[in-house]
């Protein structure tokens, strides 16, 4: 049964009155939210806020876990995360994760309240008996209505009509619930066609991935594609010396560029003033006899024979060194260090076909000379490389830009362990280990 009322205040009064008469299944309709109507109808406090709170917390947790898993874990398993250093921040750094956590909290909460609202209201429904009622359309304009459903225990048409009229309800009318009509067949056909058509762009994208195109791509934001800026390693007439890249101001040190400890940074007992060790600077030094012989080069330097104290000798460092070695060195030196990595193999092939001029094969790390090298020297090779003297860049390049200091030392540790695998003596073991072997 539906009845219309004058305005918002009358609606609230009527709602209160009708509840006092014992009706429970009462619903109110108004063109705008009427403050106080919930109290008048004694509406149960909704569960939705709790659901939304749970969703918000879930969003927050999901966001944090997702970022932790994606950026702070890495391992040897399927779908592993990938530790990607961004801006020099730690892989797991809370401040950077908060914006995502904040957004996902809101996203989850907002979607849940929207969908929950729909679900809790029993939507979507294709039809509602109220829609067949002419006068009810005013509920979106200037009509205020109360409805009592026939499920109400006190319901009887006569009683409700008198009740409504006694509290000032106008146009009291009965509504009949019309069962939902089945959805007409053509709808399904149309929906199927729309679904197929919607897939076409995706299919085209999937198809185009394998194709080639002769036409250059369209440039929508020209000023972004072609910016008036100097790119790295290019010339520029803006500066007198014609370089686009500027040299550091005299007397300044780049961040992290302070290398004061010769043991840690150079692998030397004391700085001999020639910090590039056996590498690039040595090859540029005038007067150095061009020679391929390792021994024939500059006199033996004061290499350190023990690891610097800053480097922790542990299983963790070893594992790290192994991982870094396999990433950076194994391509040339091979996983076992025999100098037969993929790059080396390919170079041999090319050489046999006569297509690889001046090429120096990677040294086997198990060679007698290399095995005899102190840790400082190997560290120095990793850091500054080993280029043949004479300016031709033949040999091995330095890795100081690519691998962090700690990782370079970790690699040295691993190389030492690799060498030991070919040369283990019984006296390298402790008494305990010997006992365990027997």
């Amino acid at each position: 049964m539906l009845a219309q009322f004058e305005g918002p205040e009358e609606l609230i009064a009527a709602a209160r009155a009708i509840r006092e008469k014992g009706y429970r299944k009462v619903e109110a309709f108004s063109p705008f939210p009427v403050h106080g109507i919930d109290k008048a109808l004694a509406a149960r406090s909704p569960v939705l806020p709790w659901v939304v709170l749970a969703a918000g917390l879930t969003g927050c947790t999901v966001a944090l876990l997702m970022q932790w898993y994606m950026n702070a874990t890495e391992g040897d398993y399927a779908f592993a995360g990938y530790q990607f250093g961004i801006s020099g921040k730690p892989f797991w750094s809370l401040p950077a994760n908060i914006p995502v956590a904040f957004e996902l909290t809101i996203l989850f909460a907002a979607f849940t309240s929207f969908l929950g609202m729909i679900a809790f209201n029993g939507l979507p429904r294709f039809s509602n008996p109220l829609f067949h009622h002419k006068r009810f359309a005013k509920a979106t304009n200037d009509g205020f209505f109360l409805l009592i459903e026939s499920e109400d225990p006190n319901f009887s048409e006569q009683a409700v009509t008198t009740a409504f009229e006694s509290i000032g309800g106008k146009h009291v009318e009965r509504l009949l619930d019309v069962p939902d009509q089945p959805i007409p067949r053509p709808f399904f056909t149309i929906a199927a066609i729309v679904a197929v058509v919607a897939l076409l762009p995706l299919a085209y994208v999937a198809f185009a991935r394998g194709g080639h195109s002769e036409t250059p791509r369209l440039s929508i934001w020209c000023d972004m594609d072609y910016q008036p800026k100097a790119k790295a390693q290019t010339a520029s007439d803006l500066f007198a010396d014609g370089r686009s890249m500027r040299l550091p101001v005299a007397g300044t040190v780049a961040r992290g560029g302070l290398r004061l400890d010769p043991r840690l940074h150079l692998g030397l007992e004391h700085d001999d003033g020639n910090d590039a060790g056996t590498g690039e600077a040595a090859s540029a030094a005038p007067g150095a006899a061009p020679s391929d012989e390792d021994e024939a080069e500059s006199p033996q330097k004061p290499w350190i024979t023990e690891f610097p104290k800053e480097i922790e000798i542990s299983q963790r460092t070893m594992t790290r060194g192994q991982q870094r070695f396999n990433i950076h060195c194994a391509v040339c030196h091979g996983r076992a260090g025999d100098g037969d990595g993929l790059v080396a193999q390919r170079a041999f092939q090319l050489q046999e076909l006569g297509q690889a001029p001046a090429w120096k094969p990677p040294t086997s790390l198990h060679a007698e000379t290399i095995r005899a090298q102190p840790v400082g020297q190997i560290y120095n090779t990793v850091t500054f490389g080993k280029l043949a003297p004479g300016g031709q860049r033949i040999g091995m390049a330095g890795y100081q830009e690519h691998i962090s200091l700690e990782d370079r030392w970790a690699i040295v540790l691993y190389v030492k362990a690799l060498q030991r695998t070919r040369d283990a003596q019984i006296d390298h073991l402790t008494e305990q280990e010997k006992a365990a072997l027997q």
Partner: protein, 421 residues
Amino acid sequence: MSQTSLYDTWINDTSERRKASPDLRRIAFGPLFGIGALLLVGMWLYSRGDPMPRFWHAYLIAVTYFSSISLGGLFFVVVLHLTGAKWGVVLRRLGEIVSMGIGFCGLLWIPIWASLLGGDGSLYPWNTPGVMTLGAENYDSLLAGKVAFLNAPFFVGRGIFYFLLWFGMARYFFKRSVSQDHASGNGPMEPLRWWSGPAMLFFALSINFASMDWLMTLRPTWYSTIFGVYYFAGSAVAIFALFAVLVWRMQSRGVLTRTITVEHRHDIGKLLFGFTFFWGYIAFSQFLLIWYASIPEEMQWYAVRRITPSSTGISFATAMLFIFHLILPFLGLLSRHVRRQRGILAGWGVYMLVMHWFDLYYIIAPETAGGSLQWPGLPEIAVVLGMGALYAGALLWIAAGHWLVPVRDPWLAESLAFENI
């Protein structure tokens, strides 16, 4: 009950007190001022031996604290007129009284201004003699570049200008609102609606510049463009926290018990909640950008306000501030039931007032305390309590003899009948 009949019953209801007694000036003002002055002077004598001007730091923290509360009050009054919000009419007079306190805060600045004009640089380093003179031993070229803006006469002049502007606005809105209490038509109220627009603009600009002057130039080589908003967010938190406490205090003494209903308190709670989060949003934005870029000239500010553990002072101070000024009250004020309980809401109000003070402590204290953030000590706490007594005395002086609710406001009936849900 319809609004008009509700209003009629309210008008004839005599079960609550609605007017501040004129005796307040006599009863409350004297003792409060006595206690306040005693504490301040005592602390000044007590900390004279300190190497740093610790007392004046504590003083600056307290002045900016109470200024921010009054500015929050001004914001509340202006924004009610600007938006034509009707729910808050019953609270507007309280806001007006608090905003009038800004004049008193201006007076509190006089000693600082005087010391600046006297060439004292212990509080504001840019005022140290020599730093801006080429050739002097302690010449600092970075500071010298800012001499046009950072010099004592201009700084003091700006300060006086801000306070005149604020006091002028607060007084205009207060006086008109009070004369409406005795008017027959709506005459006095009418121009307020129009003036609220320009007033909001002036307010936004002036609080921005004032907070930069007062707080940012304590470290003149550091700058953050969002700083004004940060200070504003704190003041908005402060005013709603104060409302929560005030309403509880007054109602437990039989004042406005019927006028301010659970619905109004609910809204105070919502706004407190909202602005607490707003503060967090702004504070975090400022932090994130600086932390991410990690440029020394920006990072210096956070470097002393420890993000990481520290051996001296408060470890993780910045993180703590986020947890206790944002996360905890966020969770605490999230529920509607909390906001509708007078006592609990007042508890959170006290808590946020303390946290807001700590926020200012966090901004000001490390700038001289040997470059690290120490725990507050006796001078800081005693000075804020002493100045609090003076400030409360001033507010009671202003309130004395006035209606505590705009009794003839055209929207009062709607405000009384206001319901949230």
